[in-house]
Amino acid sequence: MAEVTLMKTPAETGLAQAFEGAKALLPGNAESRAQAFEQFNLRGLPHRRVEEFKYTDLRSLMREAAPFAAKPSGEEARAALANAKALAGVSALQVPFVNGHFVRDAVRFESLPEGVEVVPLAEALASGHDWLAHLSPIPWASDNPVYQLNTSFMADGVMLRITGPVETPVHLRFVTSSASAVATATRVLVLVEDGASVTLLESHESSNGAGHQPNDVVEIIAGDETDVRHIRMNVEGDQALALSTLAVKMGTEARLTSVNLVAGAAVSRHQVFGLFNGENAKAQINGATMIKGRQHADSTLVVEHGAPHCESRELFKTVIDDEATGVFQGKIIVPHHAQKTDGRMMSAAILLAEGGAMNNKPELEIFADDVQCAHGATCGQLDEDLLFYLMARGLPKKEAESLLVQAFLGEAVEFVDNEPVREALVAAIEEWLRTRS
């Protein structure tokens, strides 16, 4: 019998070599890394025949594996952070990462806001910290190849514990600053104790002109009666291939608001994995994506109602100019026991030019019989009548379009209650509109 040999792509071969070279050097439990990489390697990079990656074929989008970035010197890190612009005007506790490595010097551990504890992940992995047991709170995330790659390569990150109501936002600032393309893998674990509340900001930016490959995972375990506001901003460089995952497990009566703004990267895929683990919890998960040129942006969402009486709302808005491609995949899973689930998912896209494309795939998997679930997806152009109305009042066409686009994306952004943060997101939308050709 002839042996079947699977052809590996250059990127897959590169990842395997990178893992061989790095596994002895990466901190922590080598076995769990090896297991994750083995699972990944078995199937390789996901391609269009893998349902979850049908519209984002990583096998063809990722030509080569970029080398993993070395830890920057203190000076390099300081210079990179001095140039970082995303959410720069928002007053927050800065938790910065440069080239995938936590910048320890930038955090004043002795004067953290009350209710916030920060533990560097690399050290925690090396020393076998207690909190590591909380990593990977959502079991089925481990089947996801993007997540597996992060588990295999995660070099650094932080673990945060929020023990009470925290007023000051915590800003996880990710900056990649390297002339040549580099890969990074960071993991952030946020433990929000019962009754605590926090605003988590994430910004991701990198230099233009290099095909950086960040793969970032943020995991939140929100206890009972917690309130987590999560705002994420992707303004990666124009050649970046940015993969990211947000995994959230929510306790009884927990509240979550998550808003992800996407403007950057040549290719991006943001995955949200949510699990309701206690009754009467509520989540509002939004996305606002604006892409142009030949950008490709994928928002993929899976929410499992693992407990009855929970409410989920998803609102994803995508604006596509030129020949860009948008993807929305959303799945709400309601098992037998999750009665009285209330779920509503909406994805709406506007195509500003002839050459753009949007792929909308909302799904509901409902096994319980007493639930309210709905989903909707729309795709169209700006309303001609509205444009005429605005122009008849004197607004030039471009300005009229901008006003309508702002209003369209604004619906997803208005859930951000922190005013400086919301203003920063609105400013990013305006900036995008200004630079439209």
Binding site: F388, Y389, L390, M391, R393, P396, K397, L403, A407
Partner: protein, 250 residues
């Protein structure tokens, strides 16, 4: 002065305007009345510059400028204002943001400096008070959740703020109760001036009791078929459009 000469317009191969001639002098309030389907709303859209219509012949001149060669925003800057029959709801655009954008866009087109915030607020407040528009209405998204009367008042507010020279009121009376009709008419009357003219499109004489026209034109089958003074409106109210419909059939 607005001059329309031999205007021929079609939409999707259907002829709507058939060689329409009309002149409205500066300071004049001209009313256009006519049966349903006679082309009144088409006329208002074509003057304002809506894309869907195909102009086959004729010209529209505002103070000598050829409007047909201009985009809708350029026409607005040149002084044209259309108060819509059905003002559109624009979710997510705050009324104040919209008003400021419109006022500044027109100022920019005319080479004037942008309004300062206090100046803008002062102007809006003054106009809103006159039209009995409550402040919280201005805080909402444009026309979203407004009643029919509120939407029409909002149109007149825009007219008052933008200070156009040629105003078209497209069935502004439709959907208004008596009080709203009075408020809207007073708002319009306050804007009457020797260098501003109006084209008031309506089905009913009622509006013309409040906004008294200088001239009345009857439109039928895409043309002006009779013109006269304000007494013509009363005549139409008494006799209906039957006479003109016959001319349409002929």
């Amino acid at each position: 002065m607005l001059e329309i000469k031999n205007l021929v317009v079609q939409i999707e191969d259907k002829r709507i305007l058939n060689g329409l001639d009309l002149t409205v002098n500066n300071g004049e309030v001209a009313a256009i009345m006519g049966p349903n389907g006679s082309g009144k709303s088409t006329l208002s859209y074509v003057i304002a510059g809506k894309e869907d219509y195909e102009v086959l012949d004729g010209e529209i001149l505002l103070d000598g400028q050829n409007l047909l060669e201009m985009e809708p925003d350029q026409r607005a800057a040149a002084g044209v204002f259309l108060a819509f029959q059905y003002p559109l709801e624009i979710p997510g655009v705050a009324s104040m943001t919209f008003l400021k954008a419109a006022m500044n866009a027109q100022r920019k087109a005319r080479g004037d400096a942008e309004l300062t915030m206090p100046d803008f607020i002062k102007r809006v407040n003054a106009a809103a008070t006159q039209l009995e528009i409550p402040k919280d209405m201005l805080k909402r998204a444009l026309n979203v959740g407004f009643s029919g009367g509120e939407k029409k008042r909002m149109e007149i507010l825009q007219m008052a703020l933008l200070q156009p020279t040629f105003c078209i009121l497209d069935e502004t009376d439709s959907g208004l109760d008596i009080d709203a009709l009075r408020i809207v008419s007073e708002g319009v009357n306050a804007l009457r001036s020797p260098d501003r003219s109006f084209l008031v499109i309506t089905h009913y004489q009622r509006l013309l009791n409040h906004i008294v026209p200088d001239t009345v034109h009857v439109m039928s089958a895409g043309r002006i078929v009779k013109s006269g003074g304000k007494e013509l409106a009363l005549e139409l109210e008494a006799n209906g459009y039957a006479d003109y419909r016959e001319s349409e059939a002929a």
